[in-house]
Every structure is written in C-alpha cells, then in structure tokens.
C-alpha cells in the first residue's frame, strides 16, 4: 500500500518553518526559463492556468518542489504562494520532498495487482533494501506504489521518474533495469505493438522507434496485496 495506510492513518504536517533546500545562488529562473513561462502564460487566458506547466518546469530544473521553489513559481506567475502550494499538493506527480535520482513508480492498480505487481514490489524492495515510499541511502532509488498508469495490458509495469514506461516486468528485466540505472542509463521509450498489427503487419508500425515490446500473457501472481 502507498504511504498513507488506512490501518494506521497518519497525515504528517509539512515542515512549517522550512530551511531552504536549494542554495540561494541557484534559486532563480534563467532568462530562457522566464521566457518559457511567458509562453505558458500566453497559452491560457489567466496566469493561474500556467501553474501546472510552470511547476513541471521547476521540478525538471530543481528535481523536486521544496517550498522556496513553489514560492519562486508563485512569484514568476504573480500568484499567491498558497495557490501554488495547494495545486502542487493535489497532484501526486509533483514531488514535494526530495526523492531518489530514479523514482520507480510501480503500478499496483487492479489490473497490475492481478498480474503480479506486488511481486514486483517485493522483488524491488528486497533488491534495494528499502520499503515502498522510501529512498535508498545513496539517494539513488525511490520505490513508490502508484495508481493506474494506463498500461494495463503490459502488466506488471512501472514508470521511471515520471518518464519512460517499462513493460511486462520480470525479475530479469528488473535486474537489468536497476543495473542500467546504476550506470545512469535511463530505459528508452518503448512502443508496445498492437496484437492486430502483429497479425496484419509486421508488428511494429513505427519506423521511428528502436525499442518495442508486445502484449504478453501476464505472469502468475504470488502476492495479491
């Protein structure tokens, strides 16, 4: 289960008197970034609408969104800080605290659950020596249990740091993934071929992708919850 456990339901208070986590001399947007924010603003009738793209940009730049970064975004958009904070805490993909370099979001919603996602989680926890929701001591990996990522046919699957999907997970595949990530090699974008394409054409219909996968019979499930 993800961090909030209904059996021991505890909601912590964020640090209300936070120490800045981004050095002061790094806490700014460059000219190009400010121009990008201007372009975001132009896409919508109100500045407030640009808060989501601006938060994405800030997360890309700083890795996560500590309070001072949310304040920076608020200032750039001329919005109240609380509005930015409220929006950021509503959406799970915005990291409110520092995570590992590689965040492994293991989908555990019902299709993945039925196809062995908890086995994947167990294997990763064992392998990395941390529980879901935690980060390894070297700051490299965070494991998270997340809700449906919209790739139910390739269950079990995971997403790396809000980026590429890794499909049809097996222990071997996880080993390879972790090893690659230890060498800072992100998994490539992988196109999953349509079964009908496999029957009617050669499978992969995209000449612009190097990596493909197919829908496969899901593995047996050991742990269900």
């Amino acid at each position: 289960m993800s961090e909030f456990n209904i059996k021991k339901p505890v909601v912590p208070l964020p640090d209300m008197d936070p120490e800045p986590q981004i050095p002061e001399d790094e806490l700014f947007f460059t000219e190009e970034e400010l121009e990008q924010i201007e372009r975001y603003k132009e896409k919508y009738p109100t500045n407030r609408s640009a808060v989501m793209p601006a938060l994405w940009m800030a997360q890309q730049k700083f890795g996560f969104l500590p309070p001072e970064v949310m304040q920076l975004v608020a200032d750039a958009l001329d919005l109240p800080y609380a509005h930015v904070f409220g929006a950021a805490t509503f959406y799970t993909q915005y990291y409110k605290e520092k995570k590992g370099t590689y965040v492994l979001d293991v989908c555990c919603s019902f299709s993945c659950q039925a196809c062995g996602s908890y086995d994947v989680l167990d294997y990763l926890e064992e392998k990395l020596g941390i529980h879901a929701g935690e980060t390894t001591e070297d700051g490299r990996f965070t494991i998270q249990e997340v809700e449906c990522l919209g790739s139910c046919g390739t269950a079990p699957m995971l997403q790396v740091t809000n980026g590429p999907y890794v499909h049809n997970l097996t222990e071997e595949k996880l080993d390879q993934l972790i090893e690659d990530l230890r060498n800072d090699k992100m998994p490539p974008f992988t196109s999953v071929t349509l079964p009908q394409d496999e029957d009617e054409m050669e499978g992969n219909r995209r000449s612009d992708v190097e990596h493909t996968d197919t829908y496969q019979t899901p593995p047996e499930t050991k742990r269900w919850i």
Partner: protein, 579 residues
C-alpha cells in the same frame, strides 16, 4: 417574486438567493456547514439536503399540468439536492427533513460521515457549546457510531499565524476559511493541503497567516478546528455572557459581542450588521492589548485626588467636589475642557453643557488619526470611535499649538479632560502641566497624564457603560454594558448581557467576583455630580433621556433615539463640514 412551497406551506420569496438562505430567512432551519451568505457555495459538506420538485409543464403549450384535484403535478428530482445550490423558481416544492424521510435520512447519513474522523473531543474543545457540528449532530445526527477503526490522525496545535491555531483533526473541510482568504479578505494565505480523507487547510510552509482579518476564520469555522491563540482554553462558551455592542478601536463602529466571564472580557466576536461590518471584525479589535485595556489595566482604587503630590483614594463625593471646586476657583477663560472622541455622545454632550454653564469656550477633542492605518474596509485611519459624534455636537479638533502656548503662558489654569490621555497624545509633557490643575476622567492605569492629574476619576469604558457612538459614516450606534462596575448587581442590570449561569445558576455558581468589578462610574453619572456642585442640576433619568434631548435639540442627531438605534444603529443624515 416567486412563490414556493416548503413542507406544505406556501410562501413568497425574493428569488435572488439560494433555497437554503430562503429557508433560513423563513425560519425553516436546515443543517449546513459550508454555506456562508457572504461567500460562494461549494456545496461540499452535503448537509443541507432536501427534496426538490418543480411543476410539470406541458411540452407543447408550456402550461403547468394539473392533476384531478386541479393541483399542479410535481416532478421530483430523483436525487436529494443541496439546498445551498438550488436556485428557487416559481412553483417550486420543497420537502425538508420535517416532512421527508428521505431528506432526514440524507442529513443523518452525511452527519455520520462527518463524525467518523472527527475526534469528538468536545469536552476539551473551545467550540463546544457554540459548535454548529455539535449542535447539528444532536439535532440531525444518529446516536452512536458504526465506525470501528482508527481515526485519521492529522496535525494538531499548528500555529498558522500569530492569532490562529489549527487542529486539523477537527476540521470537516468545509473550506470556509480558505474561501474567506480568497474571496473576502483577499490575502489568499490559506489553501487545502493534499486530497481525499488526508486533506486539511493550511498556509504554504513558511508563510504566516497574518492576514489583518485572520480571526474571522475562527468565527466562521463550524467546528473547533481554528481557535484563537489568545482565548483558547480560557473560557467555555456557556460560562460567558454575550453582550451586543460595538468595537471602539477605530471609527468604523464594527458591531460585536463582548464575551464576559468573571466580569472579565474574554473574547470579542463579530456581530452581523450588513450596513457596517457585515459578518466580520478586524483582528486589531481582539488582540492582547484590546483585552488588557478592558481587564488588567483598570484603576484599582476608585477616584483619587492629589494630596502632597500623591494621588490618594477618596470617595466619589469628595472627588467630584474637588473637580467642581477646581472649575469654580478660576475665571472661566482660564478653564479648558477637552472632550473626547473615545467618550460617548451623551458624555460629550454633558461636558459641553458644563462648559457652557461655567462660561468657558466649547470643548475641543484630541484627534487620533494614524494615516495609513485604514484599509478602506473595517480599519480606519481614525483610531477613535466617536470623532463624528463630537463634530456633530460642535466639538472640534483641538489646535495643539494654540492650546500648548496657552498652557505654557499660564493662561490656562484648569484643564478638564474627558476620557483621553493628552500627554500620551503628545499634546503636552507632564511637566508642562505641573502648574495646571488637571481633572481627568480616565480608563487605564497606563494613562500617561495621570502623573500630572490632580483629580483622577475612573470612567466606565465602552464595555461598562451605556451610550451612543457615531461612526465615520454617520451611523449612530448604542453600546451596552458587558461587564458591571462596582456596586452594580449584574442580574438586576437590564441592559447587561446574561450568561447561562446568570440566568439559571444557583447562588453558588453565580459569580460574585468583586475583585474584577472596577470602582468607576460612567461619564453620565460623574458629570452630573460635578455639575451639581456648580449649581447645574441635570435632571436626566439616564443616558437614554440624555440622548433623547440631544436628538430633539440637535438636528445632526435627528431620529437617533435608543429605540431607533436598536441593535443595528441608525444612519444619521449627512451634515456639512461645520455643524
């Protein structure tokens, strides 16, 4: 105007308000939490549910269909509706919990959900006794709970700002507080954090909830999630009496209730007056010093006169005698009367009458204007409650330079000060007043002019007296005694607010705490005593009669009788610059 039927009773309504408000206006109570008339209706508490139907119309003709009895056929909406979001339309039929089992069930169901994660810590909660959740759960909820799990544990004792404390477990997420800062005060300092059962209101980390109106969120919080850092854990709601009055820190005249226990002001809370402060009160009216000036800094010894350079307690008779002796001991042009924008219209009026009687020039008042303090809302640059009342009485701001030079030159030998502090105001230094006989009605021991005062007369404050103030917009409003002064029996004092113990308590739990009863008198009692020694007999039965005379004699106060002012005040006609 549309006509609607609520529980079989047909009524005419304004049509521009949501159904919930129309019901409340008709005296039909519907339980609700998130709805507040001054803010948008999010309909998130789901408590005010009713059944709603509209007359069925023929598709072709547009005529209302009728049944065999000639009554309109009603098409009922399949789901219960939140009455706060229903716009009334002509012919609408509404069934509340009073007639609909479905509505009753709906309200009870929501109440059960509201309480499952609520800590039910009423015995230690400041809101208990006045808590909409507590009250409505008794009235509309079911007994007991079917929830057998750990409640969600959320942050407690979070100091959101200097004046507001959060207990997120008590919160029912009605979002009144966040909507207040977004829609009313505009500070946008609060937001809801997280989502689902984990959510609660908070400021962004590192931000302080220092909105100048932050404490209104405490007032509108329908549970005890937001409490006052100042008054939490000090008094239970039922122990306090509640006196309708106005606040006096600025010239807005915001309507309030003074909450009193043991004859001490425990809390000041807003009182609705759409014409003045709507539902709100600025924080400045209810922070530390606002209480201290009512409670701790009051005179301990009653009236005093200076004997051998020491202020020495004496009886009221001796003190007022000394005051009148001072006034009659010098020629009338050596006497100067300072009226006061802190004092009531009645007291200023009596002072004017005395000045006139002794042949002195008309009193002047010390303006207390702090440019930039006002915010075009409920705070004003003027830090006094009654400058407008003084002006209308013909009491104008004192020319500080002129008065100072007249004091320095020895021209003025007696200074009669009504409820103010000329030294703290920078009018004089205490030394400059050494050779002047100073008679002063004063409120607090912190008064800097006391050092130079010869006759010190403790005056009843706004929370102890009866009288009239005129706010900057020309609205005359009454104040009522919230606490009683020495030798006055609270239960016999008709105008005083009563607490539960006042009304229903036994002699043992009724408070008789003499130590908190200040030995002071209202201006309308002191001034007639002084006047009597001067041969001027006021024959007023009380402040009400004084005000009646003012309204009859001064067109600037036309119509402002106590009856007309009532609880909402009386708007006086505008007068020109000079009265």
């Amino acid at each position: 105007m549309p006509t609607i039927t609520i529980d079989g009773q047909t009524i005419e309504v304004s049509g521009d308000k949501p159904l919930l408000q129309e019901c409340l206006n008709q005296g039909v109570e519907l339980p609700h939490f998130c709805y507040h008339p001054a803010m948008s209706a999010p309909a998130n508490c789901r408590q005010c549910m009713v059944e709603v139907g509209t007359p069925l119309r023929d598709r072709e003709t547009g005529e209302i269909k009728t049944d065999a009895n000639g009554d309109p056929e009603i098409q009922w909406l399949p789901k219960l509706q939140t009455s706060c979001t229903v716009q009334v339309s002509d012919g609408m039929v509404v069934k509340t919990h009073r007639t609909s089992e479905k509505a009753k069930r709906g309200q009870r169901d929501t109440m059960e959900f509201l309480l499952i994660n609520h800590p039910l810590d009423c015995p230690i909660c400041d809101q208990a006794g006045k808590c909409p959740l507590q009250i409505q759960s008794y009235k509309y909820g079911s007994e007991g709970s079917r929830f057998e799990f750990r409640k969600v544990h959320k942050p407690k004792r979070v100091k959101l700002g200097p004046r507001v404390m959060l207990d997120a477990e008590r919160c029912i997420n009605c979002t009144r507080c966040t909507r207040f800062t977004d829609e009313v005060s505009g500070s946008c300092q609060l937001t809801i954090n997280q989502r689902g059962v984990k959510n609660y209101p908070i400021t962004g980390p590192g931000e302080t909830f220092d909105d100048a109106y932050s404490m209104n969120t405490i007032d509108i919080c329908p549970v005890g999630a937001l409490t006052s850092t100042e008054s939490r854990f000090k008094a239970r709601a039922w122990e306090m009496s509640r006196t309708p009055s106005i606040t006096t820190i600025n010239a807005k005249g915001s309507n309030c209730y003074y909450m009193v226990r043991d004859n001490l002001i425990m809390e000041v809370v807003p009182r609705q007056n759409i014409e003045v402060n709507e539902y709100w009160l600025p924080d400045e009216e209810r922070v530390g010093w606002a209480y201290e000036r009512f409670n701790d800094e009051r005179p301990e010894h009653g009236p005093e006169i200076r004997v051998d350079d020491e202020l020495t307690p004496v009886s009221w008779d001796r003190a007022t005698d000394a005051a009148s002796n001072a006034l009659s001991s010098v020629s009338s042009d050596a006497v100067f009367f300072l009226g006061s924008a802190h004092a009531t219209v009645e007291d200023n009026y009596l002072l004017s009458r005395i000045a006139e009687h002794v042949g002195a020039e008309a009193p002047k008042y010390i303006p207390h204007v702090e440019p930039g303090h006002g915010d075009d809302w409920l705070r004003t640059d003027d830090r006094t409650p009654n400058a407008q009342g003084c002006e209308r009485l013909g009491i104008h701001p004192v020319d500080a330079e002129v008065l100072r030079s007249r004091v320095r030159s020895g021209e003025i030998k007696v200074l009669y000060v009504l409820e103010d502090d000329p030294v703290a105001s920078g009018l004089f230094t205490a030394e400059e007043l050494e050779d002047v006989v100073v008679v002063m009605h004063y409120y607090n021991t912190t008064n800097k002019t006391l050092a130079a005062t010869d006759v010190a007369l403790p005056a009843a404050m706004v929370v102890e007296t009866i009288g009239t103030y005129v706010n900057e917009e020309g609205r005359a409003q009454r104040v009522r005694p919230a606490k009683v002064i020495k030798e006055v029996n609270r239960t016999l004092m008709m105008a005083t607010g009563k607490s539960r113990t006042d009304m229903h308590g036994t002699p043992f739990d009724r408070w008789h705490n003499e130590s908190h009863q200040v030995d002071c008198l209202p201006g309308w009692e002191i001034l007639p005593k002084v006047a009597a020694h001067l041969g001027l007999e006021f024959e007023f039965s009380g402040p009400k009669a004084i005000m009646l005379e003012v309204t009859e004699q001064n067109p600037a106060f036309h119509g402002a009788t106590y009856e007309a002012m009532g609880l909402q005040g009386h708007r006086l006609e505008d007068v020109g610059e000079t009265v």
